[in-house]
């Protein structure tokens, strides 16, 4: 039975932890959630389970640990074969989904980091780059309801964190990165994604996340020379 023991080490406000939780919920998998107090401390157990990158999320299945959220999602889909189908079946569609997920992670996260931690011209340049990234992501939607078509799939889960976290970042920093002018299709998808039951049911509290975002932004700015 695939369900022996599943534990997830994460942090309540972490988008990449949320990705994995969404995948577990879609499959109806019972799991024990262990909250790490990142960025303040990391438990001995986490460091023992993921000594290589020392990051969350870490999934432990039958005592065997796995890190890297997108790798974990593929593992979940391959291991719990019954139930919701997360990964595309056709090899070309699968390649495309993996490509866009990687693009969103590589380019999107990089720009957001600068948007969030910098000011002035450097920040402005990052905002422009971020707007371009999100506009580009619309290509993967191809006019569909979700990246997965009628239902959400791996790519929706990979990109979905933006739907919740991006508006909070935009508010904190007072910039706009996804709006009706540059990415109306993506904006509409944000709304639809957040309405999906499984997604909606485990979103972190918005006010707490917003508060944490402001505190983090101030910390990062005060570290500037």
């Amino acid at each position: 039975m695939a369900d022996k023991e599943v534990r997830l080490f994460g942090m309540w406000a972490s988008p990449f932890t949320k990705r994995v939780e969404w995948a577990l919920k879609l499959k109806g998998i019972e799991y024990e959630y262990v909250n790490e107090s990142i960025p303040f401390s990391k438990s001995e157990e986490l460091l023992r389970l993921n000594p290589v990158t020392k990051k969350i999320p870490v999934l432990v299945h039958n005592g065997k640990p796995l890190a890297e959220s997108l790798v974990i999602i593929e593992y979940i889909d391959e291991t719990w074969k019954e139930g919701y189908s997360i990964m595309p079946k056709d090899p070309y569609d699968l390649a495309q989904a993996r490509f866009w997920a990687k693009f969103a992670d590589d380019k999107g996260t990089m720009s957001l980091l600068h948007v969030f931690s910098k000011e002035g011209e450097v920040q402005q340049k990052a905002v422009e780059e971020a707007r371009e990234v999100f506009k580009t992501l619309e290509q993967a939607l191809e006019g569909k309801k979700f990246f997965g078509g009628d239902c959400i799939n791996y790519l929706d889960l990979a990109i979905g964190w933006y739907a919740f976290w991006l508006p909070i970042i935009e508010e904190t920093v007072n910039v706009s990165m996804v709006d009706d002018a540059n990415a109306p299709l993506l904006k509409a998808w944000f709304g639809r994604f957040l309405e999906v039951d499984v997604i909606k049911s485990i979103l972190p509290p918005r006010d707490k996340t917003s508060e944490m975002s402001k505190i983090r932004r101030n910390q990062l700015l005060s570290n500037m020379p």
Binding site: L66, E68, V71, Y75, T79, P91, L94, R98, F99, T136
Partner: protein, 235 residues
């Protein structure tokens, strides 16, 4: 079903690129007939710009006119499409597959940047930092090899697998850097398992045909370094 002799396969690449080497090794292992379209160093062909408008980089696999980009994604695609020829590149067990994928990400995120960081480093200090990171990464990969190979010659076990291809494609450049910098990246004392692995990997016929000669890479590296140093400073 995909993989018939009539399907058209092209690979956009360059002889010296380790990322392209990944794709070529995978295609060769899977006995796929393909046309290798070589990009000229310093220019990007129309076909490349059309096939990979997002990154404009090689390798790009074009299968029946459909482009697939990003070397690791290409390798997985090849393994998934040409199922019935050659051994499977991905392990059978889901957890082992996840380990292969995890370490492939690690190689791209941590190891490769430090490897090429040694060449691009503007100061001796930065170079030393890259060198340390590269050696530390290899130490972790050595441990991982011990666990994943389970006593067999490859990460994939008896046959070359996904993670072997992911790391092995860089063996040519690793040897070039060893020669240029006068120190060992793979060391019998510190990384004996990986030393043996590298030899087994390079001794494989299809791999040997793809990995460039060390001398040629050293020559190219010198040209690239000179160009890099004479280029205007990045802003």
């Amino acid at each position: 079903m995909a993989g018939s002799g009539n399907s058209e396969v092209k690979l956009l690449g360059a002889w010296a690129s380790p990322y392209v080497a990944r794709a070529r090794i995978a295609l060769n292992l899977k006995e796929v007939q393909y046309e290798f379209l070589e990009e000229q160093f310093g220019t990007k062909s129309e076909l490349l710009l059309k096939s990979n408008p997002i990154y404009k980089k090689i390798p790009v696999l074009i299968h029946d006119d459909k482009p697939i980009c990003e070397s690791l994604i290409i390798v997985q695609y090849i393994d998934e499409v040409w199922v019935s020829s050659g051994p499977a590149l991905m392990p059978a067990d889901a957890y082992d597959r996840a380990l292969h994928r995890f370490w492939a990400v690690y190689i791209d995120d941590k190891f490769v940047p430090s490897l090429f960081g040694m060449m691009r480093a503007p100061t001796e200090e930065a170079k030393a930092e890259s060198k340390e990171q590269a050696l530390a990464s290899l130490q972790l990969l050595e441990e991982a090899f011990g666990k994943i190979s389970k006593g067999k010659p490859f990460f994939g076990g008896d046959t070359i697998g996904y993670l072997d291809v992911a790391l092995g494609a860089f063996v040519g450049w690793m040897k070039a850097f060893e020669e240029m910098n006068g120190f060992k990246l793979l060391d019998d004392a510190k990384t004996p398992l990986l030393c043996a692995w590298a030899e087994n990997f390079c001794n494989n016929e299809v791999v040997g045909a793809v990995i460039p000669e060390t001398a040629k890479l050293v020559e190219l590296a010198k040209v690239m370094q000179a160009r890099f140093k004479s280029a205007p400073p990045a802003n």
